[in-house]
Subunit: 356 residues, 2 copies
Amino acid sequence: MPNTTEINATTFSAESYFATQPEPPTLKADIQGVSHFIDSQIEKGRKVVLVTSGGTTVPLELNVVRFLDNFSAGTRGATSAEYFLKQGYAVIFMHRQFSLQPFSRNYSHSTHPFLDFLEIDAALPSSSTIDSAYPYSNDPSPSAAHPHITVKTSEKAALLSVLRTYKAVQAKGTLHTLTFVTVNDYLYLLRAISKEMKQLGPKAMYYLAAAVSDFFLPRQKMSEHKIQSGKGSLHIEMDQVPKVLKPLVSEWVPAGFVVSFKLETDPALLIPKARQALERYGHQVVIGNDLHHRKHRVVLVSPKSTASDRKILPNGVEYEEMWIEIDSSPSAPHKEIEEGIVRELVARHDAWIKRA
Amino acid sequence: MPNTTEINATTFSAESYFATQPEPPTLKADIQGVSHFIDSQIEKGRKVVLVTSGGTTVPLELNVVRFLDNFSAGTRGATSAEYFLKQGYAVIFMHRQFSLQPFSRNYSHSTHPFLDFLEIDAALPSSSTIDSAYPYSNDPSPSAAHPHITVKTSEKAALLSVLRTYKAVQAKGTLHTLTFVTVNDYLYLLRAISKEMKQLGPKAMYYLAAAVSDFFLPRQKMSEHKIQSGKGSLHIEMDQVPKVLKPLVSEWVPAGFVVSFKLETDPALLIPKARQALERYGHQVVIGNDLHHRKHRVVLVSPKSTASDRKILPNGVEYEEMWIEIDSSPSAPHKEIEEGIVRELVARHDAWIKRA
């Protein structure tokens, strides 16, 4: 690391972060798209949810070759977005480039590649199809002039269902997608989108499922070119990313319904960390996931209510916890935990809107 | 970082690396598959290329939440693998999980999503299709009992071509795919696959396009759980990954044709670094890419030959450089630089086999 401007570690507030770190060049164009989208949803009277999804990167070089990343394929965000759409929400889906997206997430190139369930239906013996197809050709051979591409019977019903919903969502215009890569992109986008969504007041939900880095390397400390190896070990010192949940809840969208996530690998930390977050930021729900069971079990932690399972903390604030769990045995029918999470949140959000 | 076993930084040889870092649990099963694949290729008399592709991760925690990563979508490897298959090679495609793969790489969910070119061809007005499809349903509505899924006319020829080649390759059995995630997975797989391929002698090519981390965190220095934030800045100290190209060339596959890659962001370093690598490891070709022009221009650097553009270095070793370039203007016909790279390498590999 070159020793340039000395910035005191761990002192970034949200304000000083935005004052010293550069705005992404695409921000203005991105926000214009969001603004149009929100206008048309307000016209239709729809509730709007911002879903953030996937991990953020922390580049170590200005010409990026290496970066710190957070584990996240984007499953939680992409799946939840589908269920919000199903519940009639308009969804702003802000996700890490190349992470999973609603609908196409069902056809991962690694686990469920779509090329495997397409078939060529030609009036030809299959061996001659193979020969004529090899080597590559963009010109269909004359003997296979009008082949059809068909979907394997076993895959057809599921694909039809996904495809219908995808096309219905496109026709209704209820999904708006944006991408980010770095934690800097993420922070700037989150702030700008929130400010656009503020006018929705309580009708907006913020479902912050992205795995955001806690640390970053200020622009002023970055190496311009690829860090060269061969010079011993690598030392990296990173500063803390400011906790933007604080200004988001108190300034950017004070009337919004805000849901954040906590991922821990030590289950004992889950509930204490969730409560600490609620206490610190004053928002509505923290969803706690344990890395190894996150697909089958989560806990919704929220401040005071009349639920049965409540605790009183020393500071007098009451919390309640609600566990949502699905059967994880291989013989259980296929279910997605996001369906239950979204159903519960929509009910709470409706109550929130009524109270407002 | 917890302070556990003190390992002296930067002292890992390939030998001490494998002696101290744990073998991936799936290695044995992976290698069994490779071994069967090689046997059947030997039977058919085919040349075999190992293509490595995508970046490697360096986990910072045993229960991984954060990791260091290398920039790479896997385009070079996935595209090159297709051209090697076209040239009649059997391909062992060893790639980073979720990076691009041959064939499906043409249909990225982000840039060219396949759901966008499928259509539902039902005997229904499109508005009623939209209504009946929403909300989700796995049961096709009775009024749309036998809809067909069809491919948009504009996409059909290209998809047919990809699909035919994909199916032809499957029928011939010339593509074997394996995945890695961490740099540790990569190093163990590379060593084990090379040892299996040794029996192919000069008929094996090693096309090492993966972006491998230069640094890693030894198991003994890793934190068990997620590193907690809120305790100031993050300090990471990483050790150097051993340069396994050395034992690969001199011990693991001494008769093989070995091609490595250099990616630099500073173009001035490209050729000096490529020569340095050839000098150090004694292999056949280094392909130099500049991060910003890698899709349109690369340089093949190799030791002595009769080519015109050669230089004599102080150490007496002669090098030649061959630039491969394609027209990058938007109006130029669609070409892929990997086609030219693979064609050149196949010619050199054939000469190498003849000389052996």
